[in-house]
Symmetry: C2
Subunit: 123 residues, 2 copies
Amino acid sequence: MSEHTDTSKHRDGGERPDLRDLAFNSEGLIPAIVQEDSTGEVLMMAWMNRESLEKTLLSGCTHFWSRSRARLWQKGEESGNTQVVRSIAYDCDGDTLLIKVQQEGEGVACHTGERSCFFRSLT
Amino acid sequence: MSEHTDTSKHRDGGERPDLRDLAFNSEGLIPAIVQEDSTGEVLMMAWMNRESLEKTLLSGCTHFWSRSRARLWQKGEESGNTQVVRSIAYDCDGDTLLIKVQQEGEGVACHTGERSCFFRSLT
């Protein structure tokens, strides 16, 4: 039985989403844009491998792959600033994810203490 | 005179923005998230090299680097669906851009005719 016919249940009782439309890069990674669902503010961009995406889908909280630390991490695992997933979309090329979340904890996504990682302007 | 002391003027008459805080990857690229300024809708994600970012800053319209075609392109150069830049921010690691735009033309960012490239749901 291939992974694509795996009948493991998602936490909401539905079938596991089909990841075949996704194009992971040569390192097995896909960029994930994280957006605050209620305000539309873009909070951060991080990378996922298949395992972190599956953990995100199963747990309902964002998990990423740290390229610098070479390990899986749950957003907020130390700070408490976890992210509850509201929806996950993917783009026309299947090579980028857009994850809408409810930012928990102090409402802070960035490790600097800023709400969004995009707090510096180039223009 | 290094490029960082270049006094070339930006189109609004100000100094050219300093790109030293940006971390282009090993291919000389940086991902750019494009967001509709008025609604917060994330429209697309594409890649920029230094030249496309400079063209974007100088022209005020988004330019990207196509990895598949290995060439610079202006968003909407064929379709007319250009993007007027409202602001450009960069993240805490300096390795991702967030570009807020006014989507011109038919208000469509995706080559499929959808407004946003993120029209398919995984969840």
